[in-house]
């Protein structure tokens, strides 16, 4: 599986997917015109990754802001990670938020409550 790197724009986040390192990283602002199309490569990569996942997978999410359709795509990504975790691979999700961004912290807590995967909500320093 090839590594995927997508640079950030003022509307879309930076994405890094690395099978060898067992790494999934999404950070920035997510307000794409079509969220489904934008996150499609991530979902496809996860479909492929779930067939032979690493022993441990580290997932980092560091959002500045995202729209409602992105929040659905993020949830779908979490569901996929949940499935990988249920199939026996260790998955850890780290949700970073700006120290003074209470809303992003609460959003992380909401996802944490619904997803059955070790989920850390961490303030950015």
């Amino acid at each position: 599986m090839e590594k995927i790197k997508i640079d950030a724009t003022n509307k879309t986040p930076r994405i890094e997917l690395d099978h060898e390192a067992g790494l999934l990283k999404i950070e920035g602002r997510s307000i794409p015109e079509n969220s489904f199309e934008f996150y499609k490569p991530v979902m496809s990569w996860l479909d492929e990754y779930s067939k032979s996942p690493n022993a441990s997978t580290l997932c980092t999410f560091k959002f500045e802001y995202f729209n409602t359709s992105s929040s659905k795509c993020i949830l779908d990504i979490f569901r996929k990670l949940e499935q990988i975790h249920q199939e026996g691979s260790a998955v850890v999700i780290s949700w970073y938020y700006d120290e003074d961004d209470e809303d992003m912290q609460e959003t992380g807590e909401d996802y944490k409550n619904i997803i059955k995967v070790p989920f850390k909500v961490i303030p950015n320093n």
């Binding site: 802001y65 409602t68 359709s69 659905k72 779908d76 809303d103 996802y111």
Partner: protein
């Protein structure tokens, strides 16, 4: 969200609905129990997702609204500051016009004073020159003409005014030339 966006983002949920409808429309299906359990589970999952997404969306909208509110406040502050700057600018323009008028007045006063000083000097020079010329004409009349002549006195009186003008002009030129040199 756009209509197309809804279709794509909820692709998985749409597929569940299509599958359920197919089962309902299939007359040969006798046992609805398992499909009903699957549909209930999917509905539960969807309901949880909707609750979460609504909560997240509300929070994002709140954040958006707060940002808009802050932008409106900043805009109002800028408008107020722009009004204040405009008022200060207008006051400065008025003050500037007053200062310019005052400078013009001072220049005119200085010119008047300079002219008065020149007039005084010119008058002094004319008096001295007139006395000298009077003495000279008197001496000329007495020793050369051997008698008093009114003609030389009248000539002297006629000459005083052009002489005065000439001296005034020379003094003015000299004075204003000095002013120009010192101002540059």
């Amino acid at each position: 969200m756009e209509e197309t966006e809804k279709k794509t983002v909820f692709e998985h949920e749409s597929q569940i609905l299509v599958r359920s409808r197919e089962i309902l429309n299939n007359e040969s299906t006798v046992d609805y129990k398992q499909p009903y359990i699957d549909l209930t589970n999917s509905y539960e999952s969807l309901l949880n997702d909707i609750k979460l997404l609504t909560s997240v969306s509300d929070r994002l909208q709140k954040k958006h609204n707060q940002t808009n509110e802050r932008l409106r406040e900043i805009n109002e502050e800028f408008s107020q500051q722009a009004e204040e700057i405009k008022a200060i600018h207008e006051a400065l323009q008025t003050k500037n016009a007053e200062i310019t008028a005052r400078i013009e007045e001072l220049k005119a006063t200085k010119n008047d004073l300079t002219l008065a000083r020149i007039r005084k000097r010119a008058t002094s020079i004319i008096v001295v020159v007139a006395i000298i010329l009077l003495v000279l004409t008197e001496l000329f009349d007495r020793f050369v003409m051997e008698g008093s002549s009114w003609a030389s006195k009248i000539l002297l009186i006629i000459l005083i005014k052009p002489l005065d003008n000439f001296i005034m002009e020379r003094l003015k030129r000299k004075e204003f030339a000095q002013v120009n040199i010192s101002s540059t």
